[in-house]
Each structure stands twice: as C-alpha cells, then as structure tokens.
C-alpha cells in the first residue's frame, strides 16, 4: 500500500531541462513545486570534473550517465506485423537518467525551428497542393506559430548564453548569419565560437557552390557569461568532450550551469532523487489529476498528491506514463483513432566523410562548433518535382576528435590491427565529416503503444515502438547527401566517402536522441493530446513538456524548441492557476 504524502501545488515528473524551467518560472510566481527524478543528483563538481570527465571509455563507450536498460527500456519493431523485442543495450538514442537529464550530455546545438515548420500542413498544401502529402502521412500544424514562440526562444537563448550570429533581426537580413531563419527580436547573447580549420574549409566550399553558410548557434559559451538569473558561466575550452559528457568548465548550458544555483535556494522548491514515477493518478471522473505514485530506491511506494502534474520526463517516458495511467485514448493504427502514442517521429541523419589535404587537428572542438547551410531545410527551397517534402541542414560539426569513436577514416580503412593503426597515423589529423540532419514526418504506422509481452521492473508493460523511415525520408536523405557531397568536392581532398542512410530504421547504431511525438500538440483534440499550451485536453491540470508534443520532427535538433515551449507553457500555467479552466475551449 502506497504511503500517502502531504499535497503539493505542482509535481514535476523528471528533473531535466523542462522541469528546471517550469520550476523556476512557477516558484517565481509563488507556487510550491516538487520535482521527482528517477536518477541521482549530479553537479559540475565533483561529477563532471575536469580531472576525470574526458574519459571516452567510461562515458561514451560504457555510457555511464545514461538510462540503464536493465531498469527501463522499450521494445521495438519496424512494422505492425512484426514481433517487437526489448532493446537490451542503448544504441540509436541515449536518454539520460539523473538531475539535468539529457541537458547534461547534449552537444549544445541549439536551434529555432523555421516559421514554416509550425504550419507544415497548411504551408505544403498551399504551396504544392493537397496531393503533395501522401495519405498515410499524418503531419499537422502545431497550433502555435513561430511569432508566438519568438519571445520564448529568446528567453531560452539568453538563459543558456547561446553563441551565434543572427541572420534575421526584425526582418533585416544580417551578414554572416542564417538568412533563412525566422525574424528574431535581437541577436544572440554571445558572439560565435572560434572556428576550427575544418569549419573554415566548409564555409569556403559552401560559398563556392552557391550556398549560405553560417556558424551554428551553440550552447557552448564563446566568452564568460552572466545569465539573466545571475548565474555565471565559464568560457568554452574547446576540449571536445560535450556530447555524452557533462561539461567540466561551466561552459555548456545545462540545468546545472544555468538555473539550479538559483532554483535550489528557493524555499518553495524541493526535489527528490531516485524516485521513479509509475502512475499519474486521476479522480473518479478521470478529468482531474490528483497526483502521482512513485517508487523510491528501496522499492517503497508513495502517493504524492498534487494540484497540478507536469510530465517532464524523456519523450518515450511521458507517453509510457500516460498509457499505463490510462489517461487519454490510446492510438490505434488500424482505425487511425486515438491520440496517445500517435505521430511518433525521429531524425534521419546521413554523413559524408572527407580526408582533407590540409591539417585539421580535429581534437580541438566543441559540441556545437560547426558551420552550417540551411538552404535545404524545411520549405527553404522549392520541392516541386523532388518527390519529398521537408528537409534538413548540412553541417560540418567539429564536436571533437576523441580517440575511440571520432575517427573518420577513408573508405576501406581496416577496422583494427596494423592497417587501422596506419590509417589513423596517416589520416586522423586530416579527416572530418559532414552531417545531413533531416526531418522525419509522422505516419499512420509509426507509433507508440504498450507491449503485450514484456514488462518492466515495476510490473508495467514496456512501451512498444513501431517505426521505420518512409519513402519521403529516403528521398530527402538522398537529396541532402548529394548536396553535401557537392560541398565536399569543393574542399581540397584526398578522398570522399558519402554514407546515405538506406533501408529500414535500425535501433542499433547511434543516430540522434531526437525522439519526438506520442502526445502531440495541436488545435484538434481528435489528433492531439495537448492543446497549444501543452495542457491536456482530457485532464486540464495535467501538462506535457518536451519533444513528446512535436506533431512531427523538423530538420533541427530539438532542444531550442523544447526550451521555448517550456517557457511558453509556463506562462500559460500562470494564467491557468488564476482561473483553473481548459485554456482552449473545444
């Protein structure tokens, strides 16, 4: 029998980026907030200390700071007629466990989505006609526009100390920035990072082939930074240990390096670690959340009543929690009815390796040190006759040159032995690669539900992921990879190895942790689980954060939009608290 605890005003499930933002905003508004985190506490010192964090074997290969699949995982299949099997090792994506969430181990590639991304169905139908969207493609407008989100993008960027070059301030195109971006109120808080040799080559080559390269917006600080909360950040040292590592130098934005020093001192905020939430509880009507049930480290079960529940866990886990709590209608691919689990999407990445003639010293890097072209993202180009919609960016990221996993050797290089050593010796310092980072649309048969066979340690069915890439994605990926190859050919090189991603989605090789959807936002309760303010249609005191609410994925890394949506939702929650009603009436 679960022990009943005293009621709190707001309980947050998870304590990563979105929970930190919601907690900071709501405690400022005087509310009492509790965050429940399944993992442990961790902080810059001692957990990410410069004395030990640059340990690739420990963190990148053995994956020390990620979710443990023996505790929580999902089952996977490509198609509805297959038997799903549990993912026993992390591969394609890397959810976090612990305070700060994946905000601790991201690269810091911080984007705004394009204005057209938020109205993708309307935009596509208007520009290319209704037939451009295949029948089984379930994409939809977000219910929120870029202009509405702009102030909240700005808020997240200034919180994080983003380094970058604006491309469009108030409609004025800025030299050196991304000319395709939506208009922003002001520039980035910090200038772009220093460029590496490889990004300079990319920039020159991209210009030569007629494209518009710009420095990627980075949550790695190019200079010391004092954020609006008064939290100090250091200056990036270009050590190249961002992705899959915590930052030792206070220079990659994370909850720890931007919010927690202020939040944790507030008397109206508290958090508990090693508390895995297993249910969102509702009252007899099913229309009101009454709190959550969680299990602590010792296996003891607690009932935590709350007047408001906000799901801030990883994309999969938010959906899993809704399904096991029997909140909302589960999605059924046969009928196309239901919303929980609907519109799951991912990212389609491909790469082009280049062995350059110039010395690159790739080990000097930063997670979001990169030069990018956005000419083929979203609807920035004419898709007529191309056979696909949407797109992606092409970037030369110089995230680092770690010894185990970051050698981009020429095609045919041996994988081990003296041949491999020779290739590393001759080519490592000259090698780099480009990434094509493509959008994935949502489809009728890509979705999340509960697995009929496998259970987790608490006796709940595992989440089942049914997903593969569609024809649209393959056509788009081929197009992007060809464009990247064209840029690569303009770089003085000794060899190019284009690696388009082909065939079905595989959950084994790492791709990105940009899992989206499953509780989409929108303006129609028949096709979305939350309204445009991220408030549940069915249970108005329940809110869902994160990329879980993306109705389909865009061609960018999700964190910037996840952060902006959290600030946008927090503003709505403050209105809701004064008058606790559904913020959108059906």
């Amino acid at each position: 029998m679960a022990k009943k605890l005293p009621e709190v005003e707001v309980v947050l499930v998870g304590f990563g980026w979105t929970a930190s933002i919601i907690a900071q905003e709501l405690t400022d508004a005087g509310m009492q907030v509790l965050a429940l985190e399944r993992g442990g506490w961790r902080d810059t010192v001692p957990d990410f200390s410069v004395t030990h964090i640059q340990d690739e074997l420990r963190y990148a290969v053995r994956k020390e700071i990620f979710e443990q699949t023996r505790r929580q995982t999902l089952t996977f299949r490509n198609r509805v007629d297959q038997l799903a099997l549990p993912m026993r090792q992390l591969g394609s994506f890397l959810p976090a466990s612990g305070v700060g969430g994946a905000g601790v181990h991201w690269n810091g590639q911080n984007w705004r989505f394009l204005p057209t991304d938020f109205v993708i169905r309307t935009q596509t139908e208007q520009r290319y006609g209704k037939k451009m969207i295949p029948d089984d493609m379930t994409i939809q407008d977000w219910g929120v526009t870029y202009d509405e989100l702009e102030p909240y993008y700005d808020k997240f960027e200034y919180l994080c100390g983003i380094s970058g070059q604006a491309g469009n301030i108030g409609g004025q195109i800025q030299p050196g920035g991304n000319p395709f971006e939506g208009p922003r109120k002001r520039g980035y808080p910090l200038p772009p990072l220093k460029r590496s040799a490889a990004t300079v080559l990319f920039d020159k080559a991209a210009r030569e082939v007629g494209l518009h390269p710009f420095p990627a917006p980075a949550a790695n600080t190019s200079e010391p930074y004092l954020n609006p909360l008064g939290v100090q950040m250091g200056q990036c040292t270009y050590c190249g240990y961002c992705e899959w590592f915590g930052c030792a130098n206070y220079s990659k934005a994370s909850p720890q390096s931007t919010i927690l020093p202020v939040l944790l001192k507030k008397p109206n905020f508290s958090f508990r670690t090693h508390c895995a939430v297993t249910r969102v509880n509702t009252d007899g009507t099913g229309k009101r959340a009454t709190g959550v049930t969680y299990v602590d480290q010792d296996g003891k079960e607690f009932d935590q009543p709350a007047r408001m529940v906000v799901l801030c866990a990883f994309a999969h886990h938010n959906v899993h929690l809704l399904l096991v709590s029997k909140i909302g209608t589960p999605y059924d691919p046969a009928s196309g009815q239901g919303v929980v689990g609907r519109n799951y999407a991912y990212q389609l990445s491909s790469s082009v390796n280049i062995t350059c003639k110039d010395l690159l010293n790739p080990f000097m890097g930063a997670g979001a040190l990169g030069q990018v072209v956005d000419d083929f993202n979203g609807d920035n180009f004419d898709h007529t006759g191309k056979g696909f919609i949407a797109g992606g960016y092409i970037a030369l990221w110089n995230t680092g040159g770690r010894p185990i996993l970051q050698e981009y050797l020429p095609k045919g290089s041996p994988k081990w032995g003296s041949g491999w050593k020779k290739a590393v010796h001759e080519d490592y310092l000259y090698s780099t690669h480009m990434q094509c980072h493509g959008a994935v649309m949502s489809y009728r048969d890509n979705y999340l539900d509960l697995d009929p066979t496998w259970k987790d340690e608490y006796g709940n069915p595992l989440l089942r992921l049914t997903f593969t890439f569609g024809q649209n994605e393959h056509a788009m990926s081929k197009f992007l990879t060809d464009q990247a190859t064209r840029i690569a050919q303009a770089i003085p090189n000794r060899g190019i190895n284009s690696k388009p991603r082909e065939g079905d989605y595989s959950i084994v090789p790492y791709q990105t942790t940009h899992n989206t959807g499953g509780a989409a936002m929108g303006n129609d309760p028949r096709t979305s689980f939350v309204n445009r303010y991220l408030q549940s249609w069915d249970v108005p005191n329940l809110w869902v954060m994160g990329s879980t609410v993306f109705p389909q994925n865009a061609g960018y890394n999700p964190t910037g939009t996840v952060g902006a949506l959290a600030f946008w939702a927090a503003a709505a929650m403050k209105r809701y608290v004064r008058d606790p009603q559904p913020l959108v009436q059906v």
Binding site: D43, V45, S49, L226, G230, V231, G234, A248, P261, K265
Partner: protein, 415 residues
Amino acid sequence: MSARIPIILLALLCGGAAIAAQQVYAPQSSKASWSTIERGRYLARASDCESCHTAQGGKPWAGGRPVPTPFGIVYSMNITPDRDTGIGAWSGEDFYLAMHQGIDREGKRLYPAFPYPWYTHMARGDVDAIKAYLDTLSPVRQVDRQPELHWPFSMRSMLAIWDKLYLHPDRFEPDPKHSAQWNRGAYLVQGAGHCGACHTDKNFLGAADPKHPMQGGFAEHVFAPNLGAGERDGLGGWSERDIAQYLGTGSNAHATAAGPMAEVVQQSTQYLTQDDLHAVAVYLKGLEGPEDSQPRTPDQDTMNEGRALYVDDCAGCHMDDGKGLANTFPPLRESSAIQAAQPQLLIAVILQGAKSPATRAKPTGLTMPAFADKLDDAQTAALVSYIRNEWGNRADAVSRSSVAKLRHTLAGSPQ
C-alpha cells in the same frame, strides 16, 4: 486624496511586516523589540556565529561542529534557547560574561576556539541584541560534546592562566584621531568580525600576536593571508571598493574567496550593509603590512615542471597568462593570496578543490575540483612553486614535504 494613498499603503506595509515578524519569531516570548532582534540577527551574522555553531548535516545553531586546533578538537556549543542543553536559561548577564570574558553560566572557562578574545570588545548593547535574537530561535535539544584535547590542554584549569596572559577584557574605545567610518570598521574587525582569529599570527599557545595584527596567520591548517599593506602579499593593490566587493559578493577582480574564507563570506560578510563593508575596507586599508622579505624562489627545472602541469590542469580556466576570466575564474597573477608568506591555502585548494561562496549577488558557487587524486606531492609542489613565481609573482618555493604534510593533515581533518 492622492497624498493619502501612500500613507495608507505605508500603514498596510508596516502592518504586514509586523505580522511577518511574529510568524518568524514565534518560539520564545522575547521582550525585546523587533528592531533589537533585527539588530541582533545582523550582528550574529557579522559575528559569523551560525557557521561554527552548526555541525555538518546538523540542526542550525545546535553546535557540535568540530573545530580543529593545534591542541586537539573543540566542539561548538548548542546556542539555541533550549533550557537544558542550550542557552535558554542564560540571563543577559550570563551571556555577556561568556562573550566578554569567556566564562560560561556555571563559571567554567571556555576554550578560546570560541573567539571571546575578540568579542570582548563588543558593546554591551550589541551583545544583548545578539542574545535577544538567539532567544527567538527554535530550541533544539542537543547535549554539547566534550572537547578532545591533548594533555595538558585538556585541563580546563590551564585556561585561567591563558586568560590571565592573553585575554584583555575591555570594550572598544573609538580613536578620536580617526574618522567615524574608520572607527566603525575597527569595531567590526576587532570585535564581531574577529578577523584576527585567523588573519593574525598566533603564538605557541594559540594567542594572537598583538604587535602585528592582521598580517597573516593560520586558520584550520591553512594560512590566512596578510590583510595589511603590501602590493605583493597584502591588500596594497586593492581599493576600498575592491575590499567591499569581495566581502559583499565573494569575489572581485583580484580574487575569489576560497577555503575557510568562502564560508565566512557566504555565512557572514555578504549580509553586511554597504556602509559597514566600506567601513571595514577603510580600516583595513589603514593597517600596516609585514616587511617585504626576499623569497627563496624555485629553480628553473621546478618552474618547467610546474609550467607543464599548469598548462595541462589549470590554464583552461585560469588562462595561460594567469589572468583568469573576468567575473568567472579568479586570476592567479598578482594575487596576494597566491603570494602569501605561507603556501598552505594554495596547496589546500589544489588538493581539495574550492567552492566559491554562493551569495545573493553571485549565486552560482563556481567550484574548482580536487586534484589530490591526480597530482602527487612532488607535482603539487612544483605546480605551487610555479604559480607563486610566474607572471611577476614572487614567493617562497614549496617543498614536496610541506605538501605531503598538509595532504596528511587534511585527510585526517574532521572537516
């Protein structure tokens, strides 16, 4: 009409404040006025009482914190108003006797780890205000822990001799030759602030050297730097504003508080008013420093080894030129703490790491990690010697054995 609104508002605000005050100070029925209690709270912070009188993980003000001294360990007392185990039964007179002469309610002499040789200078009214504030705290039942001192210091009777030799119970008298601001600073530094408890050298019995006040002394294994004049190892290069900023926020362009001082800033000096901070600064700027000595600088091999280690382990934050990063990581170049007469603070920071104070003005609490597991004694000695003698710095070289000794002491310290 419009003129009356602010008055009504003011009345409402005052009413609100009174209600808030009642809620905060509920436990004991103190007869003291609200303003006396508030003054007591301010002075208790200026005196840094809570820091020593709270054990790690323990109840605030209930004592039990181990205070390491060269003579053994003394534990702080429970100063909550619990009648049996705290000081709830103490009269104002009892409390003043403890603060002024180091004698408790039962007539027992207190160990001078409790800084009564400084508190003795405090005005009676200020001491009473502190007691009035302490009376408002929640009583905690916690029996005081007995000290663990080496013989003969374990004999309390020794303390009578100590007090006779070194305690000069007298109240602070303003010096008419100086400004009121200087006198306020002197009162705070010599009394409540008890800065000399760490920053003044002590003799073999732990008594402060009255002839060289604030010219540097030992505090919990590390050397508290000279607060007197001196461009190299004193506050000669600091302006009054620099001093006030350091004490008020935890850092300035020259330094970030580290070691025991980080706690002092976090718990005590950040709460001082700007007027008091500047008064302290004015007083400190008037102090004499020690005579500059000719340091024994390290040889070139040591400097080379130290430089290699510095580039690997330190330059990422403190930068190659030793200037640190503005408003983030402190400079090591031209730093008085780095060039202090004794190197223990720098050694301890490298071995143990350092958390900068998380203050209202600077909440981050930027933290340097510990290098004890990464650098051995010889490496640490070379690195410290290098840092103390690069970029125009000049100070004694550090031996491997002094690092080994401090490493051993810190490993066994109750902190």
